[in-house]
């Protein structure tokens, strides 16, 4: 199972959980599985065309998936996936 780190603004979809364990061998599969356990989270991350929103950054480990294979980036058993938003306020 991979671990997805959930940022504060999305924790309302995960009952406050900071991390969610999901199965999947690509970023796309893992995020689809996340929607199963956290309904509603998908449309906060993806736009209507199914692409990751411009201001949402998804990392596998320390690497931005934009510089890997985007949603097709492979995910291994113990990988950590982080969803990182912009920073608010002052």
């Amino acid at each position: 199972m991979a671990t997805i780190r959930i940022p504060t603004p999305l924790r309302k979809y995960t009952q406050g959980q900071e991390e969610v364990q999901v199965a999947g061998d690509t970023v796309a599969a893992v995020l689809a599985a996340l929607e199963q356990s956290a309904p509603g989270i998908r449309e906060r991350i993806f736009d209507d065309a199914g692409k990751v929103r411009r201001f949402v950054n998804v990392f596998v480990g320390e690497e931005d998936i934009r510089f890997l294979d985007n949603l097709q980036t492979p995910v291994a058993e113990r990988d950590e996936i982080s969803i990182v938003p912009a920073i608010a306020g002052g």
Partner: protein, 317 residues
Amino acid sequence: MTAPLRQPRPRVRDLTELVGNTPLLRLRHIERDCPGVELWAKCEFTNPAGSVKDRAALRIIQEARAAGLLRPGMRLIDSTSGNTGIAYAMVGAALGVPITLVMPENVSVPRKQVATAYGVEIIYSSPMEGSDGAILLAKRVVDEHPERYWYADQYSNPNNWLAHYHGTGPEIWAQTSGRVTHFVTGIGTSGTVMGTSRRLHELGPHVRCVGMQPDDAMHGLEGMKHLPSSIVPHIYDESVLDETMWMSTEEGWDMAERLAHEEGLMVGHSSGGNVAAALRVGKTLAAEHKPGVVVTILCDRGDRYFLPLKWEKHYLW
């Protein structure tokens, strides 16, 4: 034929004299979308450390020293998403006040580099917890070492909004010769919108003041706060505002791009959101065939957002 000499700017003895008194620029290209309405923007990127936050940082430090709260040997500490930190760093270096900043680890690389160049100490908070995580960590550090730090607390410090009450507000009034009809700007700490709106309402009770917020907790208008999902700044008082406007990240980002292409203004996404909000006000007025003088804020320059994250390998817009 020789061009007439422009009046040179006066000499200054102290860097901090360059804070505030920023130019008010007409957005001649954008305002074509709202015929009959004037759109104007305060060029806060002309402040010495490059953002609107120089105003609050200067007043916060000056007043704390005058009141004996920030004593020799103590460090100023505060949480910040970037621009306030850079502003403290500049004022602190110029006035000899040591600075400690608590920033979320995912603030953009240029912000970290700029702050570091002024010689500040930086403590990083979790990139997953955003600016609220930085607030909580700053409080914890202060609780552990109360003798070492003076906690500036920009979210609660009245000198944040007073900087705009005594600066931005009267400047806009004078620069528009009292013609301003609307003031529109986004909410970060809310210092700009609170102080400026309070003063403009005193000077011209008819002036409508609009606070803009991102339309969702998960947004990309860096520096702006979605208050329903955030720690609400103590200085925020909704009753000061005539209206709240909700802005999507996409609309703000598109406007930032337009400002660069059409006006030659390479500004940050929060400025894009501000101008997009001002244009909405302008379009509403134009649709009703009403004139208006709408003023907003250009918070900082866009180059502060290149290389937005430490993991990034090259520039993406």
